[in-house]
Amino acid sequence: MTDELTQPTPGGDFRTTRWTQVSQAKANSPEGRRALAELCSAYYEPVVAFLRYDLRDADAARELAHDFFAHLLAGEAIAHAEQEHGRFRSYLLGSVKHFFSHHREALRRLKRGGGVTKVSLNETEARSVPDARVLSPDAAFDQQWALTVVAHALEALRRECVAEGRADFFELVKPWLTGDTARGDQTALAASRGMNGNALKVAIHRLKQRFRQLLKAEVAGTLDDPGLVEAEMRALFAALGS
């Protein structure tokens, strides 16, 4: 299992960093910082999703996310990494919440200090009318995290196929990754690629398997303990549920 995770694919920037490296590294070591920086750049979107819940404005959320990561990477954030049950996801969410509550405090102080006494209606209005369709910030974070994980794994698979010269195969076959659909088209596809039906079935099956491995590796990269991959995947799947 470890070999799968650390195997670099040719031409792809498949992440070999593991969350273990970050949590075990001492705060000021260059390896720890680099590992953390890599992980952060990969899981940028979930932080944006979390911030967008309160800020509503996509651009403002991005800006604040940028500030957050700068703060994270500069500071001693690694110090309390061990407390988060070995999950990068929990760690990042905790850090963002912490950062954001400080940010709001600072904003409030600024507003009061600036002599503006009237209460910002936008803020309270947004609070008091909960939109049933919109998820809570934690749920938004988790959902975006799950999306990011799946997207990364799919992209890694695509890059592998491209590296093997099978880019068009990937494009044609990728609908099958969501389960068997439009079964009748398989025979036509097989004929067009010069394969018989069974060969195509096997190729699809292998692609699915590879996707599964990549997805598991992606998830495992954010965990301390590889044994927790199944549980984490279940949690992420639940986060995707409507």
């Binding site: 959902q143 799950a146 999306l147 990011t148 799946v150 997207a151 794994a153 799919l154 695509r158 990728k174 609908p175 990754l177 969501t178 389960g179 068997d180 659909t181 439009a182 079964r183 009748g184 079935k201 099956h205 699915k208 398997q209 996707f211 599964r212 997805l215 199944e230 995947m233 279940r234 992420l236 799947f237 639940a238 995707l240 549920g241 409507s242």
Partner: protein, 528 residues
């Protein structure tokens, strides 16, 4: 948020741009659910028991019974009621339909209302720890697949199973519930030979909203994971073509397939060969089987009860007494309780199966029991003869004591018959072991305990009696020596007896021996 429509397959509303236009939820679900081919060799372990137990505080989770396409089944004990139950956890990634919770509850309620001796009862259902679960009756037995693997059924045995099966199905059909997945893995037989149908309606519970099912499409092996189309080989043609609109006649088809497989040992192939051409059965049974297997539902039996009536008529006419489940333990090696089968082939086949499974060490102990008992009887008889026939003025120490010491005489009168009784019990146990009777094992254990207790008692009492004269005749070395000799001699034979009894006891408690008499029968689930 990028505009995203709801996925036609799972109904989730998620952005698709990051995942090349594919629904992320479906991608993940598919990646989490192992495909049919992998499921059989999957190293994916079921959840460790410690992770499940906290979610079910009222249960003691004992062991994992099996894993299938639907989920994992555990054996558990309800602590307060102190009864065994089966806990089935439905795998979350199988739950693709967002309206699952609602359907699950509705289906589970309908199933809970199915209270029939031949249907596995549902005790409870709900959600815990992220899983949907079903709490069911625990059936201590085997499933039909295991029996089929062991050997083919005789016609009588098959005919014994079909009527109660029909009862169960008719009962459910009368209440508007179709099983949709009748196959040998879902038919359990308990220790008394009673058949129980499991997993009623689970298929419908897990069914996906098959909006794009094309008519006339045959289910490929990969589609077997979608339970609404049933299991290939057992599901009716109309079920594979249009899973949303099946009725009770689909169950009749599946029953026909199972019946065929029980009789011939194979699945019916096109063109269908009547079973009577493959095995020696009443030709009228052909009619029953073939009519059940009609491709057109309108041509099949319309009610399961018709099948039962016909089968019972045939059985009655042929002069075979209708078989009833008798109270006998069932194992792959033994025959099912049936009417007396009058073919020699079957009887020797049964005996042959028995011999194949009996460990030779059981034979050894069976013989040893008889030998030891014989020796014991010999000793008892000669001792009795010695005591009864020896003249009163004999020089032998024990004879003197017998006549001088009334307590000793009473003791001898007590211990010899007791010994004889033990030997008789031992002979019976030995014969029982050789015939692999289940009571023989328990009898051997009882004898061993009895022998150990009486052996210790006898040693103690004999020692007391022997030591008395020893102390009395301290000045007489010869008498002392004789006393000592008597003590030791008696002691040795008692020791040997004790050793044998201990060996017997330990041997009978060994798991392999227990298995030979009570084979572990667990309903094993194979991927749907």
């Amino acid at each position: 948020m990028a505009s995203s429509t709801s996925c036609p397959k799972c109904g989730a509303v998620l952005p698709l741009t990051a995942t090349a236009g594919l629904c992320p939820r479906c991608l993940m679900a598919e990646a989490m659910a192992p495909t049919q081919i992998e499921a059989e060799s999957a190293a994916q372990p079921p959840l460790p028991l410690e992770q499940i137990a906290p979610h079910f505080p009222q249960l003691e989770i004992l062991e994992c019974l099996g894993r299938g396409g639907i989920g994992v089944v555990y054996k558990a004990r309800q602590k307060i009621l102190n009864r065994f139950v089966a806990l089935k956890l439905l795998a979350p990634e199988r739950v693709l339909d967002p309206k699952f919770a609602e359907r699950f509850t509705r289906e589970a309620q309908a199933l809970a209302a199915l209270n029939h001796p031949n249907i596995v009862t549902i005790h409870d259902f709900g959600q815990a720890g992220g899983f949907y679960y079903l709490l069911m009756e625990f059936v201590d037995g085997v499933n039909l697949r295991q029996l089929l693997r062991a050997r083919k059924f005789t016609p009588e045995e098959a005919l014994a199973i079909v009527p109660p099966l029909c009862d169960a199905l008719q009962f459910a059909h009368d209440r508007g519930i179709v099983h949709r997945d009748i196959k040998p893995e879902n038919l359990l037989l308990d220790k008394s030979g009673r058949v129980k149908v499991a997993d009623f309606g689970i298929a419908k519970m897990l069914g996906t909203a098959n909006a794009r099912g094309n008519a006339g499409e045959l289910a490929a092996p990969e589609n077997a994971t979608q339970s609404t189309v049933g299991t290939p080989g057992y599901s009716a043609p109309e079920q594979q073509a249009d899973p949303q609109h099946v009725d009770s006649r689909a169950d009749i088809y599946s029953l026909g397939v199972v019946f065929y497989e029980m009789l011939t040992g194979e699945l019916p192939r096109k063109p269908i060969e009547p079973p009577s051409r493959k095995v020696q059965i009443d030709v009228r049974l052909d009619g029953v089987v073939l009519r059940s297997l009609q491709q057109n539902p309108a041509l099949r039996f319309q009610q399961v009860s018709e099948v039962k009536t016909l089968v019972e008529t045939i059985v009655g006419d042929a002069g075979l007494p209708p078989a009833e489940p008798a109270a006998q333990p069932v194992s792959p090696g033994k025959s099912l309780p049936t009417a007396s089968s009058n073919t020699n082939r079957t009887q020797s086949e049964q005996k042959g199966q028995q011999r194949m499974h009996r460990p030779t060490s059981v034979t050894v102990f069976g013989i040893l029991n008889i030998v030891k008992a014989g020796y014991g009887i010999f000793v008892a008889i000669t001792s009795a003869a010695l005591f009864l026939l020896a003249p009163a003025d004999s020089n032998i120490q024990v004879i003197k004591m017998l006549h001088e010491n009334p307590a000793y005489a009473a003791w001898v009168e007590f211990i010899i018959p007791l010994g004889l009784l033990g030997c008789i019990v031992l002979i019976i146990a030995g014969i029982g072991l050789l015939c692999l009777k289940s009571w023989a094992r328990r009898l051997s254990i009882a004898y061993a305990i009895y022998a150990i207790c009486t052996g210790i008692l006898a040693t103690a009492v004999n020692s007391i009696f022997m030591i008395q004269p020893f102390f009395k005749n301290q000045q007489d070395p010869q008498a002392a020596a004789t006393a000592m000799a008597g003590l030791i001699g008696g002691g040795i034979s008692v020791c040997l007896g004790l050793i044998y009894a201990s060996l017997l006891l330990l041997f009978m408690l060994r798991p392999t021996v227990v298995a030979a008499f009570h084979p572990p029968a667990q309903p094993r689930m194979t991927p749907a």
